[in-house]
Point group: D2
Chain length 324, copies 4
């Protein structure tokens, strides 16, 4: 293998740049030429690919976003689109790919590998942490800390006004961000897609809490079964029927995707990037390089996408205990 | 004067605690007894007032929110409510008041002083900066920096995806937060209540910008004449008619009120708090202690509430020039 | 078991408060009375112990330092001191202890248990991460991020002036902080106690690097075998003999111990605190509750203190590769 | 005037990039060609000058350091050096200069203008705030906030261990950083070059304070008349003679120069940059564009360098009062 290419795809996450940097420098260190593909599969189809050098990735380890940009590609879903992409890689002599992204990215990479056989190793770049095969995904730690800082700020104002705040964090299918920012932020409740949210018991507990606490924070993952934060607030407000109590909603939104990556995300991203290149060189393909139990592990794309990744039991227990 | 009391009222703002601390310690330094009234006018009516000592305000200079809590009081709008409040102060022998808050707080304080004659000096505690008689209000600098950090984060993800982002910041009647966070964040447009927003020219400029820039940030003060961020986004989207372009909205909301105060806010808060007590002792009343041109200035409550505080001309110019 | 007590000892670390909170609330949740001992073993000897309630630990999860304070106790090293401590616990009816700290704390706890038999479970509270029996210690993640932020800032000024910066981080016997902040900060070299630092090869590499890079960052753990940062800088400067090159040293010092704990530290601290209480209730003693491979693990104090905890191999490789 | 050039010189300060950006975009907006000179006067002598476009300064408003780099130039102190610099500007047809920096920068600019007559306007870029003709300098607000964050962190650990901490901040000739970070951080003492530090009275006060406070923070400007922080600590320790009390020193050092600029610094930098270009176009020269009383003011270089800028009286009073 002489030439490899790297790209980012799907929603961006903090640490993607650190991962790109590690792929580029590990590749060069091992004697490879490394190329960067712009805007994920879209740039692969358009041939928007250029050589990257060691200095191309200087001074990016601390930056959010992705220097290679990211996009969704409808065309890559078609056989014609994938053929174009393959032809572009062929022309340049690219013999291996590193795909940084989440579910959708790996689904595409799996299909592409099965059709055209270019060795491909993935790196788990998504803030949601919902990828099997790695304890944490790149960007998750930063997103949790961003959510936590917001919760810390809102608690100041919640306490000053004796309010009940519903804070919506990202997580359409997974409650990892909600759970860890909820524990860290001292939330009274955390509502996640993985468990059924029981409105009656929430309302009962909130009424009980009011005897000892004047303000409360409720963290809601956007994909909770009871609705989004605004909807849940309305339901709770209707059920509590206390005209003197103020209920407020804050939806954190896109600030959770950006920002300087934390140390943990930079180190994880660097390690996964190095492991992806080492994996390609040792014959790995159609799999993702993750870190489990402090060791690099390669997991087939099929498992990364298909296997469920449960929340940590202890974390759910903690929320109950710590809110007393 | 032997006994004074301090309270916070209206929306909380970062730095209120630093201000309370300065009032308490300056009072004690000058030989006074200082009392804290809980939850603003509400606590004054209920007699929720207690003695504060030097150590009562230890380790709060860096905290957001307000240790004295804040609330809106419907009852204080009635003559009966104000009479109750006065009686409570009388019983304790309170001879002077320091009122930390904004418009509403000073309106109440003015009325109360005119009716009962207890000397009162205000401190400008509001994130909106819309109080005449001080260059900056306590909390404004922190709110701008919080908004700016959010904009910095969103720019990462906007750039990664070539998106147009509408970011709504606080400011129902005043565009100060929008303007300063917009300049600092390198926003392409800033929409504020003070100036008429021309949809056609925005759309035209956005189309022009697209030749050189792939992503744009538009900062919207919540009180803009064209609507809130969501509404403006819909109008712009409809007018631009580009199915490939993604338009996103993020409403920063209550995170702008909380958080550790910045150095500037802590220093300003400390200075206003000291000046309020010194003012009371030198016979000032019915006025606010602010800082203009680096000097302490006492401005009648009537002017603080009634006089307009215009945006800085140069700042509006900067937005136009810097977005090219 | 009806009554337990918790204390912090040794150098403070961010997250200790979150751990205390978890101990207190888990204890109460399980029907126990929980006591707090001030200033570690010193307060145990002096009988400075008081009951803690759920509200005693409100609003501390986000605070650095330790609300129970910490101290070194010479007297606890004597049999008389330990007897006094035991008597105080006896009087209050304390039947179990949670000891939050590092090496020294656990050495004391082991001895105390062996002499007096009061069941004791530890929680790993130290920024250095040098405790066997847990993947990470409470406070380590925050310390790394604090060091990293400092490195990010110094890189700005290093790049502006083409300088070589030596940054000393904490770590008398362990290089964990140096390694993770070095990878995250894009350091050109990281010098740690665990590996021999070869002056000649550093100088040679620095000369090579200068062909492509104009500024360099070298992270030095305070306990490196070649000396502290100032000493190493002098050696390198002497060896390089380039009068035009500026060499600077920054010693981060105590800022690494303080600050708001990160999400990771708050969650880990909460989990260890809960596990310590659950451990006591299920008969565990003379051991530490840590988290390995995402699971709670109880490790005998003897092993925590005695067994070495090596750096992660991949991390050392990353530093070499990423600095090209 | 058709062509202007901009450069940064002396110690770098956060906001310099925002200032460069404003100079470039204002210049282009006004129809000028704008050039960037690398490494200050050094690059002027070497002819290291290149054209800057609007996109050259994209995405730098939030970065610390200076994209044009900075250096000290011995050669510029010689008539031959300055002649070379002039010739390089002449060849390119540069008709105006914007010099971003402090004392040394303006001293050089004044001399250069007097010898060669190229119109030059300065912008106050230094963290020390010791330039007459502007209320604040570019970078000061960021430096104060960086120092303040460090003080907040150290207070956590000081309180946990009942220690006395001496924190040294930048300020060889001026105490602005020390004073504002000291007020904001709740320091018990602040020692600055502008006032004589009386060892006896400090020791006496520290002994008094110990009756009510167990830990203390003392902020020392590096240029204090009593010595640096380490020296002062030794003197105080010797005088207090309390073997049980721990005295610690932290020198913040270069972290104060770097980091993302605050909102205030970005806005000030942008405004000064715009004003410098507008000044050049309206015939201003040999002067600095600063902001006083919220208005742009042009002050002759001679005054900027020569006139003293006193500390704010109220701030010194605050330190005394707030430490009780």
């Amino acid at each position: 293998m002489k030439k490899i290419a790297v790209f980012t795809s799907g929603g961006d996450s903090p640490g993607m740049n650190a991962c790109i940097r590690a792929v580029v420098r590990t590749g060069i260190y091992k004697g490879l030429e490394v190329y960067g593909i712009q805007r994920g599969y879209e740039g692969m189809i358009e041939g928007d690919i250029k050589r990257l050098y060691s200095h191309s990735v200087s001074n990016i380890v601390q930056r959010g976003g992705t220097m290679l940009k990211s996009a969704r590609s409808e065309e890559f879903r078609t056989p014609e689109g994938r053929k174009k992409a393959y032809d572009n890689l062929k022309i340049l002599g690219i013999e291996g790919l590193v795909a940084i992204g989440g579910d959708g990215t790996f689904t595409g990479a799996k299909l592409f590998f099965e059709e055209f056989g270019i060795p491909t190793v993935g790196c788990p770049g998504t803030i949601d942490n919902d990828i099997y095969g790695t304890d944490y995904t790149i960007g998750f730690d930063t997103a949790v800390n961003t959510a936590l800082e917001a919760i810390d700020k809102i608690r100041d104002t919640a306490a000053a006004h004796d309010r009940i705040f519903f804070i919506e964090v990202m997580g359409r299918d997974a409650g990892f961000i909600a759970v860890e920012s909820g524990i860290g932020g001292g939330a009274e409740f955390v509502m996640v897609p993985e468990t059924q949210t029981d409105l009656k018991s929430v309302v009962k507990s909130l009424k009980n809490l009011r005897k000892t606490k004047t303000s409360s924070i409720i963290v809601v993952a956007e994909g909770d079964d009871l609705g989004n934060a605004e909807e849940i607030m309305q339901k709770v407000k209707t059920a509590i029927k206390d005209p003197e109590k103020e209920f407020k909603v804050t939806t954190l939104g896109h600030i959770q995707r950006g920002g300087k990556p934390t140390a943990r995300d930079r180190v994880l991203a660097s390690r996964c990037g190095m492991a992806a290149v080492e994996g390609l060189l040792s014959g790995k393909t159609n799999c993702m390089a993750g870190v489990m139990n402090q060791q690099v592990v390669y997991t087939p794309f099929g498992d990364c996408i298909g296997k469920p990744k449960p929340l940590i039991e202890d974390h759910l227990k903690l929320i109950d205990i710590l809110s007393i």
